[in-house]
Symmetry: C3
């Protein structure tokens, strides 16, 4: 039996002292697994999330047509290495799963450096770091290694290279968790879950979303919430293609990524530009995280590209700390367990809960006494001795709501026009509903307003 | 028999050398009266205004329902004091009517300081000033005094406190003066008139509006003008409730207040934000009072709160010098006869007349020769030798009017788009009407354009 | 037989090494001719343009009614001078045709300086320069001379003044050249051609437009192009009055003037303010001429005044380097062959061709695979190894086009929203059309997209 929460108690319900440490612990368990867009790595990872929330795991067979795409063959890897002529593994998948070009086809042969070099990827500017590279849709193989490792290789030596993988018919795996709210209108929260040992991008997103889902699952909510953990690009395309009937009910959405680094928040607006989710995030940034930055939509980035394609056009933005590609550790072995912090995960969770609180409480009300102000004093809503220079913010919130509750403005509009934080406006709206001076526009019962 | 005035002569009609000194003299006569939202004080004050203009005085009985409010009991005061044990009046209503908490119920008893203190209001930051406090809708009594007076009171002494008031069934009193113009569309000018001995807020508004009404009453005008002198809040609510049938004819409106201090003008936009009155004031500020400031509407302040409530929603802004609460003397005994100046009253009157001139002359014209420019030369409207680098402003005004008189732009739009002052545009429009190149859009006769 | 050009080759088609030098050579040939709004000067000038392009020369008889105007009498001049009492020509039309007030009526008499002075025009601030003055619609006569010349005149001497002109029934002459494109929708390019020996204003416009016309005439184009060379004001009014049936097909237009000085470009927006021509010029300025300036429409300047009159209201802007009246040499003898440069003419031609290229290629496309991104990889439109931080601009152009080709955005919108130059967007659109991922909105055949 879920416990309903009243306005203002939303954030207080969550136990910050355990959520973020538990999220970090989950990242630690997920870190060693070699994920890809299909295969046992993502499957095992989703199973670990089931310790937090009872998500469903879906399998979509290889060859399934999903819009313009086809679900690819499933990829699994057992081992990969480069051995020198003494038999020593000088590049070893067991040390770091980034060492293999993700989705490499199997290979096992001996070759000299000149032949091998075009298949070796390094980062000369960061000679200690291993890059992360993939080749999902073009059959290929290769190794990623530190530039220091590359420089130790010997031009005249013959190396044994081995990539022990399968690329065979199988399925694409994704996880889904649906929380039923008071209405079937829903919020979609989407996380790509296909990256191997990379912490910020995007184990941080997987862990934050899992604990967010756990928290919301325990509450009585206005909206329904759908969380999906999917491989990037092909996963969102697959989900959209198989769930077109759900799309009209998606009222808000977020892609979550890069939530564990210590940078300020960045929010990339949905393709709509000023959807309710965009306004809600912008409001919470202004009042609670003033160093944050709002970014315009662009058709490059994460799965918001698919949600924001012209034929889908959902109001889905992307919530991050430092955006993809904007930090040197991005897509390298330096995006490791040291790069994400419990404090950052905690801040991300709190800020996301603030956004959800705004969406949950944001409604359009009607002033039931629209001709002149109602007499607040006899309802106990007015300071008692007049003539003071200042007026308390609660009083101003009441006046703003009464003035703008004409059916054209929702509470978020009123908060923005008054310059006041949303929660003060929402609390004053509750008081006015209790005094029967205000009601929700859609004729909902007072209990719901 | 009224004399019509032609465009450009509007301001010249007014005799600045007498209006502002007379307004100041009126303030001096009104100052000693103890006004409140009802009672003989406001009644006597309105009678003094009748020396200037033949306003009607209305009485609305106690208990009348006005929207959500009820007309309160009438309050009258004869005397009030605090006496020490020698019988000396140490706080005396006869010295300053601010000493009594306005609308205090009667009291006459002896009490020690400890018991009295919660009923004493002072301004510790301005120890010489007496604050102004009211308690209209919550029965209460109290005294306002300077902090210096308070500090001279003695903890062990017994004081005699007396407030000799009546709070009984009676009526709410307001004044109204209607000037019939060429159309029944009207401008509403509203002044709160309920404050006791406070000069800027709002004897300045009462006096400026009275002389403005006197001046307009002598002229032949396009719009009708309705002036109302009312108690704050309950007065505008009462007037609106009793005059709902008039509201559709109110095309523009101003609340006048704080017009005698030496600060720059401030105009708080109507709830519409960009109504014709808002644009007219903004234009006159830009061209005639560049230090002035435009403020956005907010649902706190004077009676524009009621005119701008969502079910009334009239285009009524608030025209002030320093806004309420923005000067230390506000609502204190320091808002006295020294705080307002004849020069400031004069500047306020002149600026208001400019605004009214814009509204009177602002029309939408139609270019009767819209295909290419008309040949201005053969109509005597063009400089005669071509090739000069500059073009006189009168010439530019003609070209702008011809170009934008397409039925979508009024003269104020044209003035703003051209960057020229309204009166130049209006004068050029007269010339073009006389040349039959322009006519008023509504098919009015040339004499009216 | 015209050769079609494909996207991206547009500018490369033009031989910059000859166009601008040839334009300058044309200016040199036109310079000595004494043009006016009618007469043999403009007639001879248009005949010289026929060496470049086969324009038609139209004659409109004196007295023809054109909207509010009447075509004036034709003016021709043979000679004009002021002789001193030794018979020496001290002001001589044969030295510089600016010496005569343009459209002067005939005169031949002797007079003293005092009588002559009101008819003499000089520039005291530039004592070596002769001003340019006209009196077309008011019969008058006079001389323009340098201030130094004026100061050498003698108060007591009697001068012989002679202006040998005819002002008689005849015609107004203008030139027109129409290039038929794939559609009958057209672009109008208008040049005033009535100024005597003044190079920048507007022999530069006449020469640039003639070579632009020559270049466009050799190509296969989407739009039709109509060039007109007309006397200022009366010429555009005449053309508009006689060609009202053409106006609905005019989709874009430019007035060309002052294109040979060394200043940065200025573009005065059409009366529409944000028409496609305005957006196209603004885009090419941003990417190719960042020191350029966009100016708002105003009803003073060149013939854009007539094209932008409310009853005509065509989207015609004015493309210049330094605007009229903004350089000291304007309308003086200093606007001579030294004031315009081949490099400036070249830059003007190139920038105009860029604008025309944008208009030619700017279309609205539809993404044929609007649900999620299409799989670009299997079409050879995607980089092959994922995981890199940066994405090439060609790739971004493809993603922007796919995202915004929803029928609401044209390529220019997409270029502006993406911040990319138009030609990159247009090239990517071609690739997408070739891959059948995109088609022109109007159902045109792929070859046209």
């Amino acid at each position: 039996m879920k416990a309903g929460i009243s306005s203002g108690e939303f954030l207080a319900k969550f136990d910050n002292s355990t959520m973020a440490p538990n999220a970090y612990a989950l990242i630690k368990r997920l870190f060693p697994i070699c994920r890809s867009i299909t295969g046992d790595g993502i499957r095992a990872s989703l199973n670990l999330l089931r310790d937090i929330i009872p998500l469903e795991i879906h399998e979509v067979p290889t060859g399934t047509q999903v819009f313009d795409w086809t679900v690819p063959k499933e990829w699994n890897i057992r081992d990969a290495y480069i051995k020198d002529n003494t038999g020593r593994r000088i590049v070893d998948f067991r040390d770091n799963n980034l060492h293999v070009l993700n989705y490499s086809i199997p290979v096992h042969r001996k070759m000299r450096l000149a032949e091998l070099t075009p298949r070796l990827f390094t980062l000369p500017d960061h000679p200690d770091w291993i890059p992360y590279r993939t080749s999902y849709y073009q059959e290929n193989w290769g190794f990623c290694l530190s530039h220091n490792q590359l420089e130790r290789l010997n031009r005249d030596e013959e190396y044994e290279v081995c990539i022990d993988t399968d690329l065979e018919d199988g399925s694409l795996t994704y996880g889904e968790y649906f929380i039923t709210g008071a209405t079937k209108k829903e919020m979609l929260i989407s996380c790509h879950s296909c990256h191997p040992s990379l912490c910020n991008d995007n184990l941080s997103g997987m862990a934050v979303s899992a604990f967010l889902a756990q928290a919301l699952g325990a509450m009585s909510l206005r909206y329904s919430y759908r969380f999906i953990w999917i491989p990037g690009t092909i996963g969102s395309i697959t989900w959209l293609a198989l769930n077109e009937a759900c799309l009209p009910d998606i009222k808000h959405g977020l892609v979550l990524s890069c939530l564990g680094d210590t940078g300020p928040f960045h929010y990339k607006r949905s393709r709509h530009g000023n959807a309710e989710i965009d306004r809600a995030v912008e409001h919470t940034f202004r009042h609670h995280a003033p160093n944050s930055e709002m970014l315009d939509f662009s058709p490059y980035g994460y799965d918001e590209r698919q949600y924001g394609s012209p034929g889908i056009n959902l109001p889905v933005g992307c919530f991050m700390r430092t955006p993809n590609g904007q930090y040197p550790e991005y897509h390298t072995s330096a995006d490791d367990l040291n790069f994400v912090t419990i404090a950052s995960l905690d801040g991300s969770l709190t800020q996301l809960l603030r956004v959800i609180q705004v969406l949950e409480e944001n409604k359009r009300y009607i002033n039931l006494n629209p001709k002149c102000e109602p007499q607040l004093g006899r309802r106990g809503l007015y300071r008692q001795v007049g003539g003071l220079k200042d007026i308390a913010s609660g009083q101003m919130a009441i006046l703003w709501i009464l003035n703008l509750s004409d059916g054209k403005h929702d509470l978020l509009d009123i908060a923005n026009q008054s310059g006041m934080p949303f929660h003060q406006i929402a609390e004053a709206a509750s008081l006015l509903c209790a005094s029967e001076l205000l009601e929700v526009r859609n004729g909902l019962r007072p209990a719901e307003c």
